[in-house]
Every structure is written in structure tokens, then in C-alpha cells.
């Protein structure tokens, strides 16, 4: 699974993207966030406040309870601030 990070999530993890295989018990966005947060201090900082993190599964916005299913890509980012 490809994980993408944007804005301060990218800065805190130190990664724009990474390829990972979560363990089988990780089945939702919420569980993926909890698992990613254990990967190191940068990841822990990035996901310290999950309520501030938005997610997209294969480029579609999704909520924390969305099943990962067979998604190939998950993106994490703060609420958008363009315009």
C-alpha cells in the first residue's frame, strides 16, 4: 500500500510517501492511523491529533471508519487551505 503525506504531515513524518504493508488486523483508516503513529517519533507527531487529519482512499475523501479494502493508495493531509 502506498501512503502519501502532505503539508505538515509530510514535514513531521519526513516523507512525501512510503510503501508499507499494514498487518492484517489493520482494516480501517482509523486503525491505519493508530498503526502508523507507532512507526517512529515523526509519525507519532504527525498523527498526534487524528481529528486534524483528513484521509483519501485511492484519491477519494473518506472518513475514519472507512474500510481499507483493496485500496492501493491512502493519502493523509490537513484540512485544505487553498484559494
Amino acid at each position: 500500500m502506498q501512503i502519501l503525506y502532505f503539508a505538515w504531515l509530510r514535514q513531521r513524518t519526513g516523507l512525501a510517501e512510503e510503501s508499507l504493508t499494514p498487518p492484517p488486523e489493520v482494516t480501517t483508516i482509523r486503525e491505519l492511523i493508530s498503526w502508523l503513529a507507532t512507526r517512529g517519533p515523526g509519525h507519532a507527531a504527525a498523527f498526534a491529533e487524528p481529528a486534524l487529519v483528513r484521509a483519501a482512499l485511492d484519491q477519494e475523501l473518506c472518513g475514519p471508519d472507512t474500510p481499507l479494502g483493496t485500496a492501493r493508495e491512502v493519502a493523509f493531509f490537513p484540512p485544505v487551505t487553498g484559494g
Binding site: 503539508a7 505538515w8 484519491q59 490537513p78 485544505v80 487553498g82 484559494g83
Partner: protein, 150 residues
């Protein structure tokens, strides 16, 4: 002529874009325009806009298509910049053309409200002392976007 959407690092020319919307037509009675500029709040030295290249243009095109469906527009243009932007420089251009002014004005307001809350851009403020701060999403922007429904 439909919707024109561009995501680019370069500065845009608002007058030239408006002229393109009107070129060769005599049925347009109004072109409404919004240009968003970079403000120098709190000693800001520059702003850096990050975006999601694989998604941004399609996301904006969907918003523009929604505007074309909701109002009788003859065309609309959305240009959004990314990268480093200096105070006073333009960030975003939205134009809407229609036979009458109300559709054009409303469509521009709608496009900006949805761009601010649905297009994958993130602003980082860079200050003269070397510090930086990611801009936080504003509740009033969400409220403004919600008034259009759907």
C-alpha cells in the same frame, strides 16, 4: 467555451484571461472576476502553496463543472498557483462569464467558496525570522461553502 482550469507556478494575466472568455462572442453581458492576493500579515516574507499534483486539476475541474451546471455560464476560468508566492502577488484567479451579471457574480462566489474547502492546496506562511506556520482551515470558510449545499 466551457471551463478552463490551470494549476501553475507562473503568474497569470487576469485581463488576458477575461479577453479569452469573451473572444469572438456577442452574447456575454457580464464577466465577474476574483483575484486572490498574498497578504503580508505579521511580517510574512512569502507563502508556499503545496498541492496534490495527481488530483488538483481534476478536483478543480469538478468544481468548475458544478458551477457550469448550476448557473447559465458561457464559460469560466480557474487558475490556481502553487509554489513560493510573494506578498502582493496573485494566488488564484476565478472568472465567470454569462449573459447577465447575477449568474456571473454568484458563480464566482461559489467557485471561490468550494475552491477554499475542496481543492487540495495547503498554504505555509514563511516569516522573515525563518519561522514558518501552516495556515489553519477556517470555520467561516466551511460555513461559506455549506451555504451552496451539495
Amino acid at each position: 467555451m466551457g471551463a478552463t482550469v490551470r494549476v501553475q507556478e507562473a503568474v497569470f494575466d487576469a485581463a488576458a484571461e477575461a479577453a479569452l472568455l469573451a473572444a469572438g462572442r456577442t452574447d456575454i453581458g457580464a464577466i465577474a472576476s476574483f483575484t486572490g492576493l498574498c497578504r503580508a500579515d505579521d511580517g510574512l516574507a512569502s507563502m508556499t502553496l503545496e498541492h496534490w499534483p495527481a488530483v488538483t486539476e481534476n478536483a478543480i475541474a469538478a468544481i468548475a463543472a458544478e458551477a457550469m451546471a448550476r448557473w447559465p455560464l458561457t464559460g469560466c476560468t480557474v487558475i490556481h498557483r502553487f509554489g513560493r508566492i510573494l506578498p502582493g502577488d496573485p494566488i488564484v484567479l476565478v472568472l465567470a462569464a454569462s449573459s447577465h451579471r447575477m449568474a456571473a457574480l454568484e458563480a464566482v462566489a461559489f467557485l471561490m467558496d468550494w475552491l477554499k474547502t475542496k481543492a487540495p492546496f495547503w498554504k505555509r506562511e514563511d516569516f522573515a525570522d525563518g519561522s514558518e506556520r501552516w495556515v489553519e482551515a477556517k470555520a467561516e470558510d466551511d460555513a461559506a461553502a455549506a451555504r451552496w449545499r451539495g
